[in-house]
Every structure is written in C-alpha cells, then in structure tokens.
C-alpha cells in the first residue's frame, strides 16, 4: 500500500479499536453490545492487516493466537453461566453479582462480563475468518 494509506491507518486504527472497546464496555448502558463492538474491533485489526500486510509466518502465528483467544473467551462465557448453578437460587444463567444502581458503569451484575467475553470472542472469530482467506491462498502459492 502507499504511504498515504499507511499513515492514515496509523492514526485511525487505534481510535477504531478504542471505539469498539467503548461500545463493548458500555453495552448495558447505550446501544450496542458484545456483537457490535466485537465486529468494530475486528475491523481495526483487518484495517492494519490490509494496509501493512505482513509476512506469512507472522500471520500464521497471529492466527494461532486468535484461535486460542476465541476458545478461551467462549469457555469463560460458559463458565460464568455455569457458576450460577452453584450460587444462590441454583439456576443456569443466574445473575449472581449485586446489581448496583441502574445507569452506572459498574452495574447490572454479570451482564458487562458477558458483553466483554462475547466481544473478545466475536473479534477473534471475524479476524480468523479474514486471516484464513489470506493465509491459505499464500500457502497455495508457496
């Protein structure tokens, strides 16, 4: 890519990532949530990969890391929902943390945690699909 694209990406990509993180963390207060914010964060990663490119081995390493992140975060979501089986009313998907005041950042019990883990999972999933399309084409040519 040209210098203009690279310089613009350097300035913009971090802001896109921060905006995605904002949408995820404020998911229980403002519109958005884990799915929307996760795809925005994945967009930042895809922008960097498209603008700068990278050598094949580096992308391969990144794909392995993303797969691990994705599986760990979906396991954390299942773990959070199973914890409800052992605390208090003993119901699957129980909101076991104190709810706090409606409208504050730290409130709503476990809902922000679900949002954050689903956001990480969606980010790595979309990024893996993009990387798979890039990597396996290069694997064919080498």
């Amino acid at each position: 890519m040209t210098v203009i694209v690279k310089k613009t990406t350097q300035i913009v990509a971090g802001m896109i990532f921060l905006y995605g993180a904002y949408v995820v963390i404020h998911g229980h207060l403002t519109p958005g949530g884990g799915f929307a914010g996760g795809v925005i964060m994945a967009g930042a990663f895809i922008l960097v990969t498209l603008a700068f490119g990278s050598d094949f081995l580096n992308l391969k390493k990144e794909e392995a890391g993303s797969t691990a992140t994705e599986n760990i975060s979906i396991l954390m979501v299942i773990l959070l929902s199973v914890i409800g089986l052992f605390i208090g009313a003993k119901i699957f998907f129980l909101n076991f943390l104190p709810k706090g005041t409606v409208g504050e950042l730290v409130s709503a019990g476990v809902l922000p945690l679900y949002n954050i883990f689903v956001g990480i999972e969606v980010t790595s999933s979309i990024f893996i699909i993009f990387l798979a399309l890039v990597i396996y084409k290069e694997e064919e040519s080498t």
């Binding site: 799915f35 797969t67 019990g109 399309l133």
Partner: protein, 175 residues
C-alpha cells in the same frame, strides 16, 4: 414512515435484482451493499439502533471480504441463454409466488396494526426490566438475561462456523 420504508424496500429489491443480473461480479457485490445499507436505514426508522449498529458494521466487513475475494478470482460471470428447464423453473417460481402472496395477504388481514399493540410476553419483558436485570439498555437485558440460552447458542454457532471455515479452507493435510 411506512411510505419511507416502502420506498427503501423497493430500492433494496431493485438492488437485489441488479446483483443477480450484473455481468461484472464486483458490481454485483456492491449492489448487494444496497440491500444491507437499506436495511440499516429501515432499522433506524423503526427505532432499533442496536440492530442498525450490528448491521452496518457486519455489512461493511462483509463487503471488504467479498471485494477481496472477487478481485482474486475471475470477475466475469458466465451466462448462457434460457433453455426449456429454465422456462419450467420460471413458471414454477411465478406460481409459487402468487400462491404465497395470496396466503400472506390473508394472514396480514388478521394481524394487529403495524406498530400497535404488544404481545403478552413482550409486555412482561418491558415492564420493570431495568429493575429486574439492572441494565439501562433493555436490549442487553433481554439478550443476556431473559434470553441467555439463545445468546449462548449464537456464540457457540459462531465458534463452530469459524472451526468449519478453518477446516474447509486449509490446504496442508488435505488430500
């Protein structure tokens, strides 16, 4: 508002028809974008910002991936003339469309007026949801608390889809 939604839906149908008939695959992909972004405006008019955010972001990422795929493959679509099988298919499609239109029209006459009235379940969700879940955003409260099983299923489906993509696209070890 219903007039605006009708116009946008008509534009979306035109875009979809153009996407089928376009000679160049790149313009077909971009015509698919008309459908996605028209849906975003429909969601905003219906006061559903959560869905609009998800739709606009997913549509943009999909467009990028599709353009990358199209540029790496042959852009021209092969088109052959309509034979007898094509004529039969077209007539069958027309008949099925008319039958479905008749039944849907009769079903719509029995529905509530657009935007009026709510189901018993929806009322139970809306009343006091902020106190029950502690979440100021009703959609997050429904998605992660009332309908947590549904969301867990969606997240699992996404993981399974990614595993499937990796398994299908890999070249090493595939015979």
């Amino acid at each position: 508002m219903e007039l605006a939604i009708s116009i946008i839906t008509g534009l979306m149908i035109l875009g979809a028809i153009y996407a089928i008939h376009a000679k160049d695959l790149l313009s077909a992909v971009i015509a698919c974008g008309i459908v996605g972004y028209g849906l975003v405006i429909c969601f905003l008019l219906l006061k559903a910002p959560d869905l609009a955010i998800v739709q606009i972001v997913v549509d943009t990422i999909t467009l990028i991936i599709m353009v990358a795929v199209v540029l790496n493959s042959s852009r021209e679509e092969e088109y052959s003339g309509m034979d007898s099988q094509g004529t039969i298919n077209a007539v069958l499609g027309l008949i099925i469309t008319i039958v479905l239109f008749y039944f849907f029209y009769n079903a719509i006459l029995n529905l509530d007026i657009f935007g009026k009235g709510a189901l018993r379940m929806a009322k139970a969700y809306i009343e006091g949801a902020a106190e029950k879940t502690g979440s100021a955003n009703l959609v997050t409260g429904v998605v992660f608390d009332f309908r947590g099983y549904d969301t867990l299923g969606e997240a699992t489906v996404l993981v399974t889809a990614v595993l499937g993509v990796i398994a299908i696209l890999r070249l090493k070890g595939k015979k």
